[in-house]
Symmetry: C2
Subunit: 400 residues, 2 copies
């Protein structure tokens, strides 16, 4: 039967088992697919930003020397749009109409915004420049944002749209990112049937298949295989072979870790040196760790409440860190009501923030209360040595 | 040229233009695809949770009346697994071995955990029950979590894995959710070339195409069309026709809204009663709103910094609210350095939280500084009537 091992000890062991996943292989992905991915190396811009000297305003490109005694009238010799091509050099004593972003011609060293000018002649054949302009005014120099060959993004960055904007402005079409962790989710239990199947006597829907897969995705990893097997260790082995072929680097199972007679995860892992036992927590006491043909296997209890909590407590922190996601938020809140707990186990009661900002209990401690879990938005953590708490006591909570 | 309109006025106008998107059509999606979607109606469970009376522990199902004088020895008449089928009723004076989650047989009204028993007889033909058990102990009653026909999830809920667990445990395979807002992103500008194309003179990569699409997705909407057109209003019309055919409910354009001579978004929207003008902000002053064949069009300036900021300020709040995402976080921080700003415009300076928790400026006010935007993690908001701030002044910031 074995003693219950402390929550923190089990968490540390799972963390060590998953540490090997942290050294990620890399892959090139199109920028269009890179939102939320993590850069695997610094991203170098092959070009300067901006790539060429251009105008910051709609207006007129001039030589500052020509307008130092403004107001002064200059003939307008042409128009430069933001379009491909090289504009002709600007002759001294002339101005050229220029659009925002258009290349500033050789010879010009300042731009006069259109609102600081007046038209001269009916069809804008000349322009009256109202004020002097210093060299460089309203001119964006090539490389003034970034020099060619410099890093536009650092390594280890979780890509948001503004980062993609900078990489794309650098002319890149792809970026080297860390591969996401490839996870298989396998439900065990002869009582399980696929979602949407009418339930026979003693049957229940395989809720963990869809819910653990969603939890894996929410933690920034990718589900490469999902399966469901009855309580038959050969079937489970075959399922895990399939998961390995699908490239799984981590297998998460639910069910089959308890003290009963048909515990397939126990049957699989224990002969191979894995550990199946009890963690001093409620819900989620029965837990398993091990490996199958070199792939780490983390086994959770079969009921969906325990499975979801176990994932959040033991696996999500490692996966979120690898994916560059922040850890789950925690908060110390006052209890809205008194509660009792079991000595020697860390209790994770489902709760909900009340209107006055306290933590209320939702549905009690039973690990089968999955509707109550859905109605919760936090977990109330009751330490192992605490069996009673009064309303108003301050507790640690984990925000869901 | 027109007067600059206040930021808040433009924001309110865009919000009103997008308000019609809030009444979402609905669609049924598989639970496996429902992570992050919003329930369109309360989700009713067709079954009770749990669906049948079952055991909370591995142990022995008994009649509490038979163990009230424990310790007492009972013959073990069988074994009930968590598996399909109906167990035989329990005869008085007997016990049956039972697994966690297995159906509790008629006649039994309590479960004795295996750790509170001792074996009697070599091959477990009998069991010694060590303590009395009350009626209902370690028995999960059918419906004790949720009654059949009750709502397992409310309407308007953003689905996390624990919600999917509850819906799946209810035997549901699909859920009715709000459709995501369908957005088209169209870049305008003859100077633009596709990402990864070697740049000719005067050409720049179309950064907004990929970056605005990513921003749309990050705001919980879906990009149904992306396009890029040169400065030719007929091409733009054709592109928007394609966007409409793709089902776009909202078109976001970049470029073509300035005071220059080749402003295609202006050419498209103004004759149709749209507005193209200046908002009293920096960067991102030139803005446009209107409609094309009944589809709202929001026009941003062409440079990626202005486009990203404009999206965050004017469009993201509406899209995020529709998608059930929280608004961007704001924080009041001390400035790490003095700064100056332009009178009459609200300045959104790119900044970064310093190690000592203050707001430092990254890269200056130029709207072309896209690499600096990528290096930022907040926007420093300088009000319209402020032209100088000292280090240590407290400013509003928007966290990116």
């Amino acid at each position: 039967m074995g003693a219950r091992i402390p929550v923190d000890e089990h968490a540390a062991f799972v963390r060590s088992l998953l540490a090997g996943l942290g050294a990620r292989p890399t892959e090139r992905v199109a920028l269009a697919d890179a939102l939320g991915r993590i850069t695997a190396s610094p991203v170098e811009s092959p070009i300067a930003l901006p790539p060429f000297r251009n105008s910051q305003m709609d207006g007129f490109a001039v030589r500052s020397a020509d307008v130092m005694d403004a107001p002064v009238s200059l003939p307008v010799v042409g128009e430069i749009a933001a379009a491909p091509g090289v504009p002709a050099p600007l002759e001294p004593g002339t101005a050229v109409r220029i659009m925002t972003g258009a290349p500033v011609p050789d010879g010009a060293d300042a731009v006069v915004p259109v609102e600081d000018t007046e038209e001269v002649g009916g069809d804008v054949t000349g322009v009256l420049i109202l004020h002097p302009r210093a060299v460089g005014e309203y001119v964006r120099e090539a490389g003034s944002d970034l020099e060619a060959g410099s890093d536009v993004l650092p390594a280890g960055l979780r890509l948001a749209s503004r980062h993609l904007a900078a990489a794309a402005a650098s002319g890149l079409a792809e970026v080297l990112v860390r591969e996401r962790v490839r996870v298989a989710v396998v439900s065990t239990g002869s009582e399980l049937v696929p979602l949407g199947t009418p339930l026979g006597q003693g049957e229940i829907p395989d809720a963990n298949g869809v819910a653990l897969a969603a939890a894996v995705r929410a933690a920034g990893a990718v589900v490469v295989h999902g399966g469901r097997v009855r309580d038959d260790v050969d079937r489970l082995r075959a399922e895990l072979d399939t998961a390995r072929e699908a490239g799984a680097e981590l297998v998460i199972t639910s069910g089959g870790v308890s003290k009963g007679a048909f515990e397939v995860v126990r049957e699989l892992l224990e002969p191979a040196g894995g550990w199946v036992g009890s963690v001093a927590m409620q819900p989620g006491g029965p837990q398993a760790t091990g490996a199958y043909r070199g792939v780490p296997v983390i086994g959770f209890p079969g009921n969906p409440v325990s499975a979801q909590l176990s994932f959040e407590l033991f696996v999500a922190p490692s996966l979120r860190a690898i994916a560059g996601l922040p850890p789950a938020a925690t908060e110390r809140l006052e209890l809205a009501e008194p509660l009792t707990s079991v000595a020697g186990r860390r209790q994770f009661l489902r709760g909900r923030r009340t209107d006055d900002g306290r933590a209320g209990v939702v549905g009690g401690p039973g690990s089968h209360l999955v509707a109550a879990l859905a109605a919760s938005d936090l977990l109330i953590v009751v330490p192992e040595d605490v069996t009673e708490l009064d309303a108003g006591a301050v507790v640690d909570t984990v925000l869901l």
